[in-house]
């Protein structure tokens, strides 16, 4: 008998359910309870970088928007630095920019929005330059374990073409499911995305 390894096993995931807002966005559930709330606004007046709006929908296998979905995003600041001690890259840290936010979809339309800044390019530990991207985590009723994906930017064609993660996506036609489309509204950049959980245009999800 070899020595036992004695690792513990990860706790199993369960769906967040239809009432996830009670715990994570109580104002959407219809009540006010905490003194301080987390939100879909990542920027403060002092945040450096280009202000952007991210907006999109998550669609099910019938093409219908999920109206009870919750998204969290995690991103670097404009200098490409994550606000976390494990990021020891050279970009300047901004204490006020946490880099994380959560947003629920509108109960009628399914639209999810975030107010943030466009992240800078990230240098990974192997010294490779990664295209600017936003990490996305998706939970909802009917989703048994949170889904991980990324949003890249349509106006970063050269960086996207060299990105080490996008280049792992096969067939290449699926890479476009990770690109948010830039437009302007009232002089401000809006990046639109659609996340397809299932079907012909299914979004690429990652086992991270």
């Amino acid at each position: 008998m070899p020595q036992p390894l004695n690792y513990l096993k990860e706790t199993a995931s369960q769906t967040a359910g239809p009432y996830v807002h009670i715990g994570l966005i109580p104002a959407m559930a219809g009540f006010d309870i905490f003194e301080k709330n987390f939100s879909n606004v990542l920027v403060t007046p002092n945040t450096k970088g280009e202000r952007i709006t991210l907006e999109g929908k998550v669609l099910d296998g019938s093409g219908s928007p999920l109206r009870d979905v919750l998204l969290e995003i995690w991103q670097a600041n404009a200098a490409g630095r994550y606000n976390h001690p494990a990021d020891r890259s050279a970009g300047a840290l901004e204490q006020e920019f946490r880099g994380w936010g959560r947003g629920g979809s509108d109960f009628d339309t399914g639209l999810v929005t975030f107010e943030t800044i466009k992240p800078g390019a990230i240098i990974d530990k192997a010294g490779r330059k990664c295209a600017p991207h936003i990490n996305v985590w998706i939970v909802a009723r009917g989703i048994n374990i949170g889904l991980n994906t990324r949003l890249y930017f349509s106006d970063e064609e050269a960086a996207n073409a060299a990105d080490p993660v996008l280049n792992l996506v096969e067939p290449p036609v699926r890479r476009k499911t990770l690109i948010a489309t830039r437009s302007e509204r009232g002089g401000k950049a809006v990046y639109s995305f659609t996340i397809n959980l299932q079907g012909a245009e299914e979004t690429v999800f990652f086992d991270v």
Partner: protein, 262 residues
């Protein structure tokens, strides 16, 4: 489950030199998806249209996944871990008073300190304070049903609440959820992010729940069932349940790739 897992042997002690480390960047242990529910679990009907049909694309952990949001006591209010008081209007909520406590650990048995744990639940009658819940059991005017806590230096957390009731839901005609509390946990990196549900020892609805039984591994299912913990209860006040949560382990960094020029 044994929360005080024996300290792991230092893997460097037993290996012939030289050796190749499994991964040089301190990423997380690969997730064992055989213990998690599959995306497509037809007995839980909502999963049918909401599950990807393509394979997940496995990517090595980079700085995007190893890092994650950091929270502090400034983010919380003083009553955030007391569901008996944090929405009290003119008295205490109705129901069985309980303490829920435990540790957030990683797969190596180390406590995960200073991590955010969030929880939400129905009231004692199985009714959620949510505009979309129309179950006929009444709202409790003194119960909100949510809270949050930061783990301490050892990964320990606790909160006080009332035991939630079971409730019916539209899956099969006669489907009822066991009593449960939803948990959201962050860990130290975004790849450890986890949402799960805690159940209560002895609940006869557990083996017939279409959501809980999406879990293919019996032991993994049992680990979601919190035992009664009389040692942690407060006499003449509250019973206690123990719920430990295990997040993915983190690899040690033996050798790092050096950026060219370093």
């Amino acid at each position: 489950m044994n929360a005080q897992a024996p300290a792991l042997r230092d893997p460097r002690l037993n290996r012939p030199e030289p050796f190749t480390p499994p991964l040089g960047d301190g990423g997380f242990f690969q997730r064992d998806r055989s213990i998690h529910p599959p995306a497509h679990a037809p007995g839980y009907k909502s999963s049918v249209l909401r599950s990807p049909r393509q394979s997940l694309l496995s990517i090595e952990n980079s700085v995007s996944e190893i890092t994650g949001p950091v929270f502090g006591h400034n983010d919380l209010g003083p009553l955030d871990n007391d569901l008996i008081r944090n929405y009290a209007k003119d008295g205490d909520p109705v129901g069985e008073r309980i303490i829920v406590h435990g540790r957030v650990l990683d797969e190596t048995g180390r406590g995960v300190p200073n991590t955010l744990v969030e929880f939400w639940q129905a009231n004692a009658g199985g009714r959620y304070r949510h505009k979309k819940d129309t179950y006929l059991a009444p709202i409790d005017p003194n119960f909100g049903g949510c809270g949050r806590a930061l783990t301490d230096d050892t990964g320990y957390y606790y909160f006080r609440t009332v035991k939630p009731g079971p409730y019916p839901w539209r899956n099969f005609v006669n489907s009822w959820r066991p009593a449960h509390i939803h948990f959201s946990v962050f860990g130290s990196g975004f790849a450890q992010r986890l949402i799960t549900q805690m159940y209560f020892e002895g609940d006869p609805l557990i083996p017939v729940c279409p959501i809980l039984t999406t879990i293919p591994d019996k032991d993994a299912l049992d680990r979601l069932v919190a035992p009664l913990d009389l040692n942690a209860s407060t006499p003449f006040d509250s019973l206690a349940y123990r719920f430990d949560i295990v997040l993915r382990g983190q690899r040690s960094t033996y050798f790092e790739n050096r950026t060219a020029g370093n």
